[in-house]
């Protein structure tokens, strides 16, 4: 599974399972996080990503398996004794303390003197673009969503953790602020050289920030890899679908590199990029941008006559919903310049732009 890991891992998850009663939330999961990398666990809700994170931080104990921090088993180490720290989804700022006192909290617990604490809090607030003169004494309740985000980060950094965990802290923010903070977070990780482990349900968010991504489904890891690896070669239909709008055609092999596609009303014959044994069922992945409308004189690996149902503007591109057969639609994305008119068109794609995936 591990493709690129010459360095020793800072955190190793070895065959970890977590059960709640009869329910298996995390099922025999193994992976490694390298020192200084930005690692992201991504999965839909109920995939076990939060449970996994809570075990990494120490809020839950694994039912079986081992967690190793620099080779040392930490299964039974409570969170207050682990050199790791988490930024919560709710941020979990102390509502009764000021911004400055929130940031100083871990230092205070450690018994640092107030002068040193203040200096450090001052530095951290500056690092996170919060003017200490204005924010140090501010009440948490008076801070905006983005400001709270930064305070939570400063507080976690004050703990000086070896690994910093994040439980979807950006999910409550509006799209624009989220984008800004994603980039800031990435910069911060580069700047501090710390290991970040991030959990999110958005693969898009994971792709923007991460060095490596692990995709979880129903307690199992589906795929681990660099963002571009995952994008270019998704391991199965679930991963492909999770990345956004794609066309996944259920196909059944008819021997060699041909297959049939049952659209409900009628069955179409397709050419495949690779051979498929007769009778084997797979999914054919075609990205919306790989589909194109053909002129009368053009040819492609596969061509289908379609009816154009609808078109949507995506800024520089246009998205079309086209009907191959009654009740069976595909999504097509083309540049604005290639706009088509009329009700019907000829759709086509090159074989190299399609992939066969396990269902």
């Amino acid at each position: 599974m591990e493709s690129s890991s010459p360095a020793t891992p800072i955190l190793e998850v070895a065959t970890v399972t977590k059960r709640f009663g009869g329910f298996t939330a995390v099922d025999d999961v193994s992976f490694r996080i390298q020192e200084g990398e930005f690692f992201t666990l991504v999965g839909p809700s109920g995939s076990g990503k939060t449970t996994l994170l809570r075990m990494l931080v120490g809020m839950e104990k694994p039912t079986s398996g081992e967690l190793r921090l620099r080779g040392r088993v930490i299964n039974d180490l409570p969170p207050n004794q682990r050199p790791t720290c988490m930024v919560f989804q709710s941020l979990a700022l102390f509502p009764h303390l000021s911004v400055g006192r929130n940031v100083e909290f871990p230092l205070e617990i450690r018994g640092q003197r107030s002068g040193e604490r203040r200096t450090r809090a001052w530095e951290l607030l500056k690092l996170l673009h919060l003017d200490p003169n204005r924010y140090y004494d501010k009440n948490i309740a008076q801070c905006s969503g983005g400001e709270r985000q930064r305070v939570a980060l400063a507080r976690a950094l004050a703990y000086d953790p070896e690994i910093l965990f994040f439980d979807e802290p950006l999910s409550a923010l509006d799209a624009r602020l989220r984008k800004t903070l994603q980039k800031e977070l990435k910069d911060l990780q580069r700047g501090t050289g710390k290991t970040f482990c991030y959990v999110t349900h958005s693969l898009e968010e994971a792709m923007v920030m991460s060095d490596r991504v692990a995709i979880l489904r129903s307690g199992l890891i589906e795929q681990i890899g660099r963002p571009d690896e995952i994008y270019s070669s998704p391991k199965n239909a679930f991963v492909a679908e999770f990345m956004g709008e794609v066309n996944l055609l259920p196909v059944v092999g008819t021997g060699d590199a041909t297959a049939t596609w049952d659209t409900g009303r009628k069955t179409l014959a397709l050419a495949l990029p690779a051979p498929l044994p007769a009778g084997a069922a797979k999914k054919l992945l075609i990205r919306p941008e790989s589909l194109r409308f053909l002129r009368a004189d053009e040819t492609a690996g596969n061509t289908l006559p379609v009816r154009i149902l609808n078109q949507f503007s995506l800024g520089s591109r246009l998205q079309y919903h086209v009907e191959v057969a009654p009740g069976c639609t595909l999504t097509v994305e083309r540049l604005r310049e290639e706009r088509v008119t009329g009700d019907t068109a000829l759709l086509g794609w090159d074989l190299g732009d399609s992939q066969l995936l396990d269902a």
């Binding site: 120490g58 809020m59 839950e60 104990k61 409570p78």
Partner: protein
């Protein structure tokens, strides 16, 4: 946060201990109510056990009178304090108006007030007004104390009231009165039922207010107090036990109402899960 099994057991044992001590007096009363002897002493032989005092209590005309007075007070109090509570809950939690914050503090005042003194004050007030105290003056006294409680209970429901429902109704042309009757009232109904149970139960058990305001009538707690401090009757523990049983039954009814309204509320929000 991880809760270890040892911690859980420890806290459970502690809770069990507290409940055990808490129910020790009830156990004592039950034991005493079953003793045949005129003057209770413990332990007693099983041959000395009897249900005689319960039969006495059930057939005592005196006890019937006191129960009747208590019930009348409880019914009147519940009706008045829930009706008042409905409106004051709206003022407390629903409408935005200038005096709201002051009102919210004011509502709590009677609760933070010693009941014996309140009872006395009402006695003097009735005396000043030249009103002869009877069961209904006690009901007024109870209402002064219980209406704030019903207000708070209904307010909790009113806080959860989705304002957009009323706005939607108004948007569809309903008048204020129609909104109140067709939207607000049914939505607050579970809270009002809970409040009714509370009002009945609290009035039923109240002693400090009744002591001064019942006049010639006498409520059950008063009679028990009198029999405990002077002129003990062996019937007293039996009446006490019957009283407890009644309270438990009412609480069970309350429990099922709360359960029912929770379920209804959950059913009304299918998308929540």
């Amino acid at each position: 946060m991880i809760v270890t099994r040892a911690q859980k057991t420890g806290f459970s044992l502690y809770a069990g201990l507290v409940l055990l001590v808490f129910y020790f007096p009830v156990f004592c009363i039950i034991v005493a109510s079953l003793s045949k002897k005129r003057f209770f002493s413990f332990p007693y032989a099983t041959s000395d056990m009897t249900l005689k005092w319960y039969a006495d209590a059930a057939s005592s005309a005196q006890v019937h009178d006191f129960v009747g007075v208590s019930l009348r007070i409880a019914a009147a109090t519940a009706a008045a304090s829930v009706a008042i509570g409905f409106f004051s809950a709206l003022a407390y939690a629903r409408y935005r108006w200038r005096g709201r914050q002051t009102f919210q503090r004011l509502v709590l005042l009677p609760l933070f007030f010693p009941q014996s003194v309140l009872g006395l004050a009402l006695l003097m007030w009735f005396n000043f007004l030249d009103v002869t105290t009877a069961w209904w003056t006690a009901a007024i006294a109870h209402t002064v104390w219980i209406a704030p409680i019903t207000t708070l209970i209904i307010s909790i429901q009113a806080y959860g009231l989705d304002e957009s429902l009323e706005e939607a109704a108004r948007d569809m042309g309903a008048s204020r009165w129609q909104i109140l009757r067709k939207i607000t009232f049914p939505l607050l109904l579970p809270g009002m039922i809970t409040a009714t149970c509370f009002a009945v139960l609290l009035s039923w058990g109240n002693f400090a207010l009744s002591l001064f305001t019942t006049g010639a009538d006498s409520a059950l707690p008063e009679w028990l107090y009198a029999r405990m401090t002077s002129g003990y009757q062996p019937m007293v523990p039996a009446v006490g036990v019957l009283n407890v049983i009644l309270a438990v039954l009412l609480v069970l009814a309350l429990f099922s109402v709360v359960h029912w309204s929770n379920r209804k509320a959950r059913a009304a929000r299918p998308a929540a899960h």
